[in-house]
């Protein structure tokens, strides 16, 4: 399991190769999951019943902060994978930690956002639009939350066992997951918030 091979460490075993490929297929399924959420969102977007519309409740500032936090965390996890490939374990773990902290900050802002919505009368049970908005944002948020727990577990394994084929493979797959969540956020940012505030 030496570094400096022609292939990055995470591909060095057959099982890792299979795991990474399988995870790409899973991400394909996740594309359809979020596509379905977006489908339902666009269908129910204007069905506000007696509740507020998007334009009435969206605020650009928290949305911008969330976007910058997530985009940066996507950058830092990329740096973590790069550090892993050149064998710098300490740098990799540092970038990993920063990624998770940024993710946690993102969740914090999102929770604030949800509390605010409920406050202004846009709760889960208010209307079809609010239900779909909170479900779409919430599904993304649950994925981020799950990612935080998963990331901590991987970090603990890297700390305890060092950089092996297994830990490198898991870290790489986690980075794929994290990048994917950022891509989904870009679509949420563009087609839920910005479109709603045009």
């Amino acid at each position: 399991m030496k570094l400096g091979h022609s292939q990055p460490l995470e591909y060095s075993t057959h099982q890792n190769d299979l795991n990474i490929f399988g995870f790409w297929i899973f991400l394909g399924a996740e594309i359809m999951l979020f596509a379905t959420l977006f489908t339902s969102y666009f269908t129910l977007e204007n069905r506000v019943g007696s509740g507020p519309s998007g334009a009435e409740i969206f605020e650009i500032t928290p949305v911008l902060i969330e976007t910058i936090l997530l985009l940066t965390s996507s950058f830092t996890i990329g740096l973590a994978v790069h550090a892993m490939r050149i064998g710098k374990v300490k740098a990799m773990m540092s970038f990993f930690v920063i990624t998770l902290v940024l993710g946690l900050a993102f969740l914090g802002v999102e929770i604030y956002e949800f509390v605010h919505y409920v406050h202004v009368g846009a709760g889960l049970q208010t209307s079809a639009f609010t239900a779909m908005l909170l479900t779409t944002l919430g599904t993304h948020g649950i994925h981020v939350t799950f990612g935080l727990f998963w990331g901590v577990m991987i970090l603990l394994q890297v700390r305890k066992r060092g950089l092996t084929a297994e830990t490198a493979g898991k870290s790489f797959i986690f980075s794929l997951y994290w990048h994917f969540l950022d891509v989904v956020w870009i679509f949420i940012f563009s087609f839920i918030y910005l479109k709603g505030m045009m």
């Binding site: 591909y11 190769d17 490929f21 790409w24 297929i25 991400l27 394909g28 399924a29 594309i31 359809m32 979020f34 596509a35 379905t36 977006f38 489908t39 666009f42 269908t43 650009i60 911008l64 976007t67 910058i68 985009l71 940066t72 996507s74 950058f75 990329g78 740096l79 790069h82 550090a83 050149i86 710098k88 740098a91 980075s175 794929l176 990048h179 994917f180 950022d182 891509v183 870009i186 679509f187 940012f189 563009s190 087609f191 910005l194 479109k195 505030m197 045009m198």
Partner: protein, 94 residues
Amino acid sequence: MRELFPAKQVMGFVFSMLLTAVALGVYFFDLSFAVGMTILLVTAFVQALLQLIVFMHAGETKDKWAIYANVYFMIFIGIITVLGTLFLLIWDMA
């Protein structure tokens, strides 16, 4: 220190911030719905492709054809689902 910040990643990050700023234009400027949607679609899909190719290393192994085929197929069916649903339930509803 320089070796920890490879050029591709940094450029990619800067470019994605740029695309986000351009998308923000639809909020700050008074544009028509069509122009606004076009800007959003272009920036979102370009940023997605950027993430896919530069950050997620989709094209770096011999599996790349299967990976691209899978992702594009899902995006295609995803778009069909969105457009087909809107067509059925809203645009062509009596």
